[in-house]
């Protein structure tokens, strides 16, 4: 190759970064038929799990389910690679139930890479994206570090922690995106020159020790569960032997050790210029922020079936290594634990997410999308969700199709993206169920019902997959109708059964549907009672039964949330025309005008969530929209009934 020339390779979509966001973006775009290239610093490090060896958990599990329901890959991949799985919060309501699985890290990577290898329209290029070629606020192409030029109009940035990355332990640091791996040091400047603002964040990971040197007798064993399904809606995971995790707690000794060495922490000594996550905080931070707590949980998690390394969740730290060893040995059960990998912090550039639209495209450079940790999030699930949406929208944008947006009332993915681009982030963002005001509707058990249709329309799911979801929806309706129209009377036996279940007897006939509302009445028992009274409820699959039961049980709450959504829908999705002159609105506060002008929300709903914009400001805005004669019913093709 002589001089670098503009006649490079032609791709419809280029993705930079082979982490959890990058692979989802690349797969979505290729599966939608776009010629796609995934550029990565190392083809040997695709879909790595550099931190927690797990997928799922409260809030995160819901994201993975939704990714799968749309036709993304993370759910299927963890199903191939898990060494432990369990359902969290089974005793609590369905809104907070979530799956969590421990992964064999190597297998997770290999499985994902195999999927990439087998995907048409996708090429992988080892290289570093060094410069974006932007003219008149539109992307034209990308320059790689080695001089190659990739001509493309659509780019998904998914660089994770690699932009000007630096790894830190105590007062030692060196440039790296992860330990031992060179960072991407060129792109940040090019992005800034193109008008994109970057911030600086910090994330950390705990030490790994040799699992043979821990003392499980001092810990509480945490086994997996035999579940019939995994994360994926479309395939049943292969049976396997599960491995346990272990739970221990820090002791007063641990806390004392940390306190004695706090002055060596990069946080206190001021080395770290970024902010760290509040939600998986380092042990040093926990001790500083919660001095009244006398113990913190430490979960010992295996990292794979072929290694003895275990991950110490809860002991995230970037204190000097000798201090890490002291902290570990001061923790019950870890007295003799041998350190294999020290914990460390990584500091990196992130793209300030308020610069992105609800479909993750830059408001400054058309054709530039961004997804994952580079947007200020933490977690593989948060990254993958953004990667999927960015990849879908990059593919749509490449052919001039309207963007695909999920609302807060449709998916956790919607909540995630809206939170990021509307409210921004002060520290790396992590998903919780409490962030979703409609969490009763956005459940683990109904992700496919909410989203499979979009997946199929976009080309990420087969017709047959959608059909299976439709069939189930139909069956749910059928069974519900049956229960609501079948009356049960007391014949002596019924009331006796009800009492034995711990619920009150009936004095007048009730429909089966009404009885099902009682938490003590399980649907399976009810079906049996119906059969005993001569009715034929029919045979249904357990997923159908689960749905019917949940709906009956929480009907009141569900209806209220649906009503609320309907009430808000008019305002929530009321479109604000692009180019709307916010700065010419009178009657709103200076701060509101300022924020609106800067952030340019696409809908009234988004506008209402901007900090500094009050309900009164929204009313004024609505008035102006009326006057301007706009009649938007929604900016996206995706708004539909939940």
């Amino acid at each position: 190759m002589k001089k670098a020339s503009k006649e490079g390779l032609q791709y419809e979509v280029v993705v930079a970064g082979g982490g959890h966001a990058g692979v989802e973006a690349a797969l979505a775009s290729s599966r939608m038929g776009r010629r796609t290239a995934l550029v990565t610093l190392s083809v040997d490090k695709i879909a790595l799990m550099p931190c927690n060896p797990a997928i799922g958990g409260v809030g995160k599990g819901q994201l993975t389910r939704e990714i799968d329901a749309l036709g993304g890959e993370q759910g299927r991949n963890i199903d191939k690679a898990y060494i432990q799985i369990k359902m969290l919060n089974t005793s609590k309501g369905p809104a907070v139930r979530a799956l969590r699985a421990q992964a064999d890290k190597r297998l997770y990577e290999d499985s994902m890479k195999a999927v990439l290898s087998a995907t048409a329209n996708l090429e992988i290029i080892e290289g570093e994206v060094a410069r974006v070629d932007v003219s008149r606020e539109t992307l034209r192409g990308l320059w790689l570090h080695d001089g190659r030029y990739l001509a493309t109009r659509t780019f998904v940035l998914a660089s994770g922690t690699f932009l000007r990355g630096k790894v830190i332990v105590g007062n030692c640091s060196y440039p790296a995106g992860r330990v031992g791996e060179l960072p991407a040091n060129h792109l940040s400047r090019s992005l800034e020159e193109a008008g994109i603002a970057l911030g600086r964040f910090q994330s950390a990971t705990p030490p790994r020790v040799d699992g043979r040197t821990i003392d499980p007798s001092k810990m509480i064993v945490q086994p997996g569960e035999e579940l019939r399904g995994g994360f994926s809606h479309w395939e049943t995971p292969a049976p396997r032997t599960q491995v346990p995790c272990y739970l221990t707690y820090t002791s007063a000794n641990t806390h004392q050790t940390v306190s004695e060495h706090l002055h060596l922490s990069p946080l206190k000594s001021g080395t770290v210029s970024g902010k760290g996550p509040r939600y998986c905080p380092s042990i040093d931070r926990k001790i500083i922020n919660f001095p009244e707590k006398d113990r913190h949980p430490v979960f010992v998690e295996p990292e794979g079936a072929t290694t003895h390394e275990v991950y110490l969740q809860g002991l995230t730290t970037s204190l000097p290594v000798h201090v890490q060893e002291l902290i570990i040995s001061a923790t019950p059960g870890l007295e003799r634990a041998r350190l294999i990998r020290p914990g460390y912090a990584v500091e990196y550039d992130y793209l300030i997410p308020e610069q992105l639209t609800l479909w993750l495209e830059s408001k400054t450079v058309s054709g530039l999308f961004s997804a994952g940790q580079v947007n200020g999030t933490s977690g593989y699930e948060e990254a993958a969700a953004q990667g999927l949406i960015a990849g879908i929208n990059a593919a749509l944008s490449a052919r001039g199709v309207e963007p695909f947006i999920l609302g807060r009332d449709q998916a956790y993915i919607g909540v995630l993206i809206d939170d990021l681009v509307t409210k921004g982030v002060d520290e790396p963002y992590r998903m919780f169920t409490s962030r979703a005001e409609y969490r009763l509707l956005l459940r683990h058990d109904n992700a496919d019902e909410r989203l499979a249709e979009f997946g199929q329309r976009l080309g990420l799911l087969e017709e047959a997959q959608l059909q299976a979801v439709e069939n189930r929806r139909h069956q749910v309706g059928e069974l519900q109708a049956f229960l609501d129209s079948t009356t049960l009377r007391d014949d002596g036996q019924l009331n006796a059964e009800l009492e034995s279940m711990g619920t009150s007897p009936i004095s007048e006939p009730q429909t089966a549907g009404q009885l099902l509302r009682r938490p003590q009445v399980a649907l399976l028992d009810l079906m049996r009672m119906l059969e005993a009274s001569g009715h034929s409820p029919g045979r249904y699959d357990e997923k159908v039964l689960e749905q019917v039961e949940i709906r009956a049980r929480y009907d009141g709450y569900i209806q209220r949330q649906l009503a609320e959504i309907r009430r808000h829908r008019a305002t929530e999705h009321r479109a604000i025309p692009p180019g709307f002159a916010f700065d010419s609105i009178e009657g709103i506060t200076v701060e509101a005008r300022d924020k609106l002008t800067r952030l340019r929300p696409a809908t009234l709903g988004q506008a209402s969530r901007i900090a500094g914009v009050s309900p009164a400001d929204i009313s004024v805005l609505l008035l102006h929209l009326h006057r301007a004669g706009s009649e938007g019913a929604g900016t996206s093709a995706a708004i539909s009934q939940p």
Partner: protein, 377 residues
């Protein structure tokens, strides 16, 4: 913390410290541990343990050394990790390894056999009364009686793609500057080492150059029997597949450039001790293909996942070579400091592997002699 800190002060010392977890480093560390020695392996990339960095081709190291590969000296686990993930052309004397699988098996073996693994980037080295001290980028210190350097071409390493030069022995690798300076300060003398690496294709091109002939590579398995003395051909035999093998493949395809037939050989493709030229699968689970450096120009138009490059680094050279064990490229660079693998002049993967084993032999002798001389405890 009465006993704690005292014990920890000694916890970073071992009899042997191997710096660099590549082909030779893992072989050396694992072999020493299998013989009961106390050995720590410090690697900057624990997830790439034992990865053959450049080409997936595995060549015989020549006539005499082959015995080392045939179950006489190397530990069984080491042999299995390599040969159960190797695919070979029947009748020829070379194979192709699944680098990823080998790496996973090697890590498993190295953990099992009792090597103390440690993630760390070595940035300095110094002679101390106990032997040698190696410091890491995170401020850790490790001491050992004997230190083995198996850092490949990363000393002063850089790679060239086209006409441009980039830091690190390969893309993405953090170079070890400090280590090089420290060694020079101790009087080490270096030569330049160089290796040309072919590109990789993300998938097979639609049309393969017509002069390449398709062949079938079969699983090499564990070696049986052994090569006849004086021959230059490795006897690959069929062995048990590794547990959890997901390939299900009876064979892997490769495309070879023809070479003149050897006298007496009944297979006209492949060469005995030189690198075969062609397209080789870079593992059974990945779709990537390795292209021999000479063939780059002929496979234009196909999607390249990795460009070819030339890697240059420093290797120990000059008059300091005191003891090259047979022809297995290992040497004691200074008292108690050994070099093995690429750093010691090994030219390819199998030579590195043999070098690591030979280094373990030599280091074991040194340690046992010292133990013998010490007063009984």
């Amino acid at each position: 913390m009465e006993d704690g800190s005292g014990a920890k002060a000694h916890a970073s010392h071992s009899s042997v410290l191997v710096v660099g977890g590549g082909v030779s480093g893992t072989a050396c560390a694992g072999t020493l541990a299998s013989r009961g020695l106390d050995v720590r392996l410090l690697s900057g990339a624990l997830d790439s343990l034992g990865v053959a960095e450049y080409s997936p081709c595995f060549l015989p190291a020549g006539a005499g050394e082959e015995r080392l590969l045939l179950g006489s000296k190397e530990p069984a686990g080491l042999g299995r990790a390599w040969f159960e993930n190797m695919w070979a052309l029947p009748g020829a004397s070379w194979g192709v390894v699944d680098r990823r699988r080998v790496s996973i098996r090697l890590k498993e073996w190295v953990e099992e056999i009792g090597v103390e693994l440690r993630q760390g980037l070595a940035t300095t080295i110094a002679r101390v009364p106990q032997g040698w001290l190696v410091g890491t980028a995170f401020g850790e210190s490790f001491t050992a009686e004997v230190a083995v350097l198996s850092v490949g071409l990363s000393l002063g390493g850089h790679h060239l793609i086209g006409e441009r030069e980039f830091p690190g022995a390969r893309i993405g690798e953090v170079p070890s500057e400090g280590l090089l300076q420290a060694l020079k300060a101790h009087g080490a003398v270096f030569d330049t080492g160089e290796e040309r690496v072919g590109p990789r294709l993300w998938r097979l091109p639609d049309s393969i150059p017509p002069f390449l002939r398709r062949v079938q590579l079969r699983p090499a398995g564990t070696l049986r029997g052994g090569a006849k003395p004086g021959t230059s051909r490795l006897a690959f035999g069929r062995g048990p597949r590794t547990a959890g093998d997901q390939y299900g493949a009876e064979y892997l395809e490769a495309w070879l450039a023809p070479t003149p037939p050897l006298a007496g050989a009944d297979v006209a493709v492949g060469q005995t001790s030189e690198c075969p030229v062609g397209l080789f699968p870079d593992g059974a689970a990945t779709g990537e293909w390795y292209v021999s450096p000479g063939l780059e120009q002929q496979v234009v138009g196909a999607p390249l996942s990795r460009r070819g490059y030339v890697v240059r680094g420093l290797v120990f050279g000059g008059e300091q070579a005191q003891d090259t064990q047979e022809r297995c490229a290992t040497r004691e660079v200074m008292e108690g400091l050994w070099a093995t693998g690429w750093l010691a002049g090994a030219g390819h993967t199998s030579a590195s592997l043999l070098s690591g084993i030979a280094c373990a032999d030599a280091v074991e002798r040194v340690i046992r002699q010292r133990d013998g001389r010490r007063a009984p405890r």
